[in-house]
């Protein structure tokens, strides 16, 4: 290629790099072919210049070629690039919502690895957006599809952990310690099953009563953290959970009492 000053070469290399980045992943266009044609264009445009070509001449040619970011129509660009552009150029009202959704998608894609750590920041951004919309008195409208998913996923995980986490862990620990040495467990298979089911019932039921009491006491912070999905949460819902817990615990106790 034509002899250039280092500054001119750097300008050209930067431009070609931007072009490659912009054309990467575009299905309707062959990026290498476009690059080859653009190189040919630049070389012909600079052919008549004398001596090593300076940055000024190169900039002139590149300015006429225009920014590669404007070469393609939106529909020709890869979906991910369109999405990133929307985050970058969307109205302020939407940008944060797109960012929240992008973080949510990333956390789902990386779920087994670092996803669980990313879902919390995604939820925080979503919650910030919900609060922003509330402060402005704006309904979320279609934007709720971008901000609700991360809040919903964290809510589902938190609910699952709250309902089954501690009692399940406790039961596993008891099995590890051969709880038939601690309790009077029947030796027959049927008796053992009855006792285990009864033990589980008492454990889960008691935990649900405790958890319901705890959540009822901290109703407002819980509603705030998971707003707007839990805006309709009331103490009566925890009363229902406590009642179910009481029934399950009573059934469990009955099974233990009549284990023989």
């Amino acid at each position: 290629m034509t002899e250039m000053t280092p500054a001119a070469r750097e300008r050209l290399d930067n431009y070609l790099q931007r072009m490659r980045t912009e054309l990467r992943g575009t299905r309707s266009v062959v990026a290498d072919e476009v690059e080859q044609s653009v190189r040919e264009h630049i070389e012909i445009a600079l052919a008549e210049a004398q001596g090593p070509i300076g940055a000024t001449e190169v900039i002139g040619v590149l300015d006429r070629l225009g920014p590669p970011e404007r070469w393609l129509a939106d529909e020709e660009r890869p979906a991910w690039r369109q999405f990133m552009d929307r985050i970058r150029t969307a109205p302020d009202d939407w940008r944060l919502a797109y960012l929240a959704f992008a973080m949510f998608l990333l956390s789902m894609l990386l779920f087994p690895a670092v996803g669980p750590m990313l879902i919390i920041p995604a939820m925080i951004v979503s919650r910030a957006y919900v609060e922003l919309a509330r402060d402005r008195g704006e309904p979320l409208g279609a934007r709720r599809w971008l901000v609700y998913p991360s809040i919903a996923v964290v809510l589902a995980i938190a609910t699952g952990l709250l309902i089954i986490g501690p009692p399940l862990g406790f039961m596993a620990m008891m099995f590890d310690h051969r709880f038939d040495q601690i309790f009077d467990v029947p030796s027959s298979e049927f008796g053992r099953i009855r006792f285990t089911a009864g033990f589980g019932g008492v454990l889960f039921g008691s935990w649900w009563i405790l958890a319901a009491a705890f959540c009822a006491a901290f109703l407002r912070p819980i509603r705030f953290v998971f707003a707007p999905l839990l805006d309709g949460l009331r103490r009566k819902h925890f009363a229902v959970l406590a009642a179910i817990g009481a029934v399950v615990a009573a059934a469990g106790a009955t099974l233990i009492y009549y284990r023989y």
């Binding site: 072009m19 054309l23 575009t26 309707s28 266009v29 062959v30 072919e33 476009v34 080859q36 044609s37 653009v38 040919e40 264009h41 070389e43 012909i44 445009a45 052919a47 006429r64 070629l65 225009g66 920014p67 590669p68 404007r70 070469w71 393609l72 129509a73 020709e76």
Partner: protein
């Protein structure tokens, strides 16, 4: 229509017409990329950024409307020439006919409004 909407409208119109313009440029004889760009740039308001033409040429080649060949040049490295394929020539004919009928239709609407 405010300035922003007008700019957007002209951009969309230009993008739509540029493909037709590129095909018409090489209808009579094969041309290399720089020459195509230069000829299109001579048409007022058609090409704002010259680089836009190259992705269009690549897309037209991918679609089978255009093919390329290299030819030695006395003024530097070999140049890539673009020429219409038979399918490209058929499509260009249809596109030109469609453009003519659109142009005619818009012209008729404007005449009616002037009456």
């Amino acid at each position: 229509m405010n300035d922003l909407s007008f700019d957007n409208w002209t951009t969309q119109l230009r993008k739509g017409l540029l493909e037709l313009a590129v095909l018409n440029t090489i209808a009579d004889a094969p041309l290399y990329g720089y020459e195509i760009v230069r000829r299109l740039s001579d048409v007022d308001h058609l090409v704002i950024t010259e680089g836009t033409v190259y992705p269009i040429l690549s897309r037209l080649k991918n679609s089978g409307l255009v093919d390329t060949y290299l030819q030695e040049s006395q003024e530097g490295p070999p140049r890539k020439y673009y020429r219409l394929t038979p399918r490209g020539r058929d499509d260009l004919h249809r596109m030109n006919q469609h453009w003519e009928s659109l142009h005619h239709a818009i012209g008729s609407l404007r005449k009616e409004r002037k009456r």
